[in-house]
């Protein structure tokens, strides 16, 4: 579904990505784990075409995203839904308008009854009811905002959902909730997901496969079990903090 091949990117003198290669299979959840400044957000921005690589390619469903520009890129992005770290809901719009926004922009002639139906349907996927429709983003808790953000990402029926640090800054109960949300979206809708995270517990819970990023390179990649047994010194150190707690 997503193929990243030998991806290089630098900003000025700062070499952020140094030859990343990975594959994400359809219908699975792939987690990219890494500390701050490891380049994981930059990697995700390449996948959705917000950044252009210096070298290497990103293909989604066979289409080379990294080579597209303008309208072609805009169209190619329709296979994606993205959930931002801060949820990034439009704070000048109600919850209904937020979730409806991508669909309304894509199909400008959509009937309002159908629009409302689709919005309610997606909110139900993330276990939210109609009572939130007329509320404002600032009135919701962090966990609820994340769920609205996922509903908004799902409304265009994307094939791939990208999550940018979905559990950062959330309390343990809300974190568990968001993990459930990611697993549910996969099970109910068969969506392919890419999750960027530094939350090890959450990563091992939701991942089918994962990669550990260190200094712009992949230090380990595989199923959760394979990564757990990795002999790479950074990976061992990175994971040990968490295993000690177990």
């Amino acid at each position: 579904m997503i193929e990243v091949r030998d991806l290089w990117k630098s900003f000025g003198a700062n070499q952020v990505l140094k030859g990343i290669t990975l594959d994400i299979t359809r219908g699975t959840t792939f987690v990219v784990l890494g500390g701050s400044g490891s380049g994981k957000t930059v990697l995700m921005k390449h996948v959705i075409g917000l950044l252009k690589p210096d070298r290497g390619t990103v293909r989604v469903d066979g289409l080379e995203i990294s080579a597209l520009e303008g309208r072609a890129l805009t169209e190619a992005r329709q296979v994606f839904g993205m959930v931002f770290q801060s949820a990034a809901l439009f704070d000048s719009m109600t919850i209904f308008e937020n979730v409806a926004f991508p669909l309304r922009e894509k199909q400008r002639s959509i009937r309002s009854a159908e629009l409302r139906e689709r919005v309610i349907e997606k909110l139900r996927v993330v276990d939210l009811g109609e009572e939130v429709l007329q509320r404002w983003p600032s009135e919701l808790s962090g966990g609820m905002r994340k769920r609205v953000a996922l509903a908004r990402a799902l409304i265009g029926n994307p094939k791939v959902v990208l999550y940018d640090e979905p559990t950062t800054g959330l309390d343990p109960i809300t974190t568990a909730y968001v993990d459930e949300m990611i697993l549910n979206a996969k099970e109910r809708l068969g969506i392919t997901s890419m999750v960027i995270s530094h939350d090890i517990a959450s990563a091992f819970k939701v991942a089918d496969r994962l990669a550990v990023l260190y200094d712009g390179q992949i230090a380990a990649q595989g199923t959760p079990d394979e990564v757990r047994r990795s002999q790479d010194p950074f990976v061992k150190k990175f994971l040990s903090t968490w295993f000690e707690k177990q």
Partner: protein, 251 residues
């Protein structure tokens, strides 16, 4: 020093490129009339009060000063015309633009800056909606339409304020006051003010949206962007005004 000059030039170039993108997106469907109307209300209708207040006081002060000066030549009858000419050619476009920069330019830069640092602009981009078309174009087009209209409003209210002071306070007969306004102000004078209004509308809206769009680094970054938007717009207004006057009046 060399580095700073270079950075300033790069910044300016980037802004011109941004302006070009705005122009390209403005011509491309879909045209979002409801967003344009909302911005015309916010930038235009919302600024009428402050423009009216500035206009009436400017006109009143101008009439009193003109009367003071022209009285020495027993030429008080020319107060009306002088006030009108000064307003439509210079003061209305410049003061309107400065007031609207303070009110709406800062609001635009803050709003877009906040949307940038809270990832709302990135989010829009990932939804296959161009944030330039959705957010920037309506603000720029609304400014281009509303700045000349506000400039005309400023002139009208300013002249009325001048009439009040001239006729009722300085006791100038209303006949010559109105007659000399008619003869002294020509269509080309009115147009010169409107052209300036158009130019300032483009300038202020592009600078403000650009500063908001390129904001980074949280609340401080948004504040810094807004400050730079207001400072750059204000200086730009004065410089562009000088340039247009030089071209239209000559030396």
């Amino acid at each position: 020093m060399v580095g700073r000059v270079r950075a300033a030039f790069e910044d300016f170039g980037d802004m011109l490129f941004f302006a070009g993108e705005v122009g390209a997106w403005a011509l491309r469907p879909p045209f979002r009339l409801e967003l344009l109307l909302a911005q015309m209300a916010a930038i235009g209708v919302g600024s009428t009060f402050i423009v009216a207040v500035t206009g009436v006081f400017t006109g009143m002060v101008l009439a009193l000063q003109m009367n003071y000066a022209l009285h020495q030549f027993s030429a008080e009858g020319f107060v009306g015309g002088s006030v009108a000419l000064t307003l439509v050619r210079e003061l209305s476009p410049v003061l309107t633009a400065l007031m609207v920069t303070g009110r709406s330019g800062s609001a635009i830069a803050t709003e877009l800056g906040t949307m940038r640092v809270t990832e709302q602009i990135d989010a829009m981009e990932t939804m296959a909606v161009s944030p330039i078309q959705y957010l920037v174009v309506p603000r720029v087009v609304a400014s281009i339409i509303m700045f000349p209209l506000l400039t005309m409003l400023f002139s009208a209210i300013g002249w009325a304020g001048g009439y009040l002071m001239g006729v009722y306070v300085a006791q100038i007969p209303p006949g010559p006051f109105i007659e000399h306004t008619r003869t002294m102000v020509e269509i080309k004078d009115l147009m010169s003010g409107i052209y300036k209004g158009l130019a300032f509308g483009v300038l202020v809206s592009i600078v403000s949206t650009y500063r908001g769009f390129r904001a980074s680094g949280g609340a401080t970054g948004v504040g810094e962007g807004t400050t730079r938007a207001v400072v750059m717009s204000s200086i730009g207004i004065l410089v562009v005004n000088y340039a247009i006057t030089l071209i239209t009046v000559g030396i």
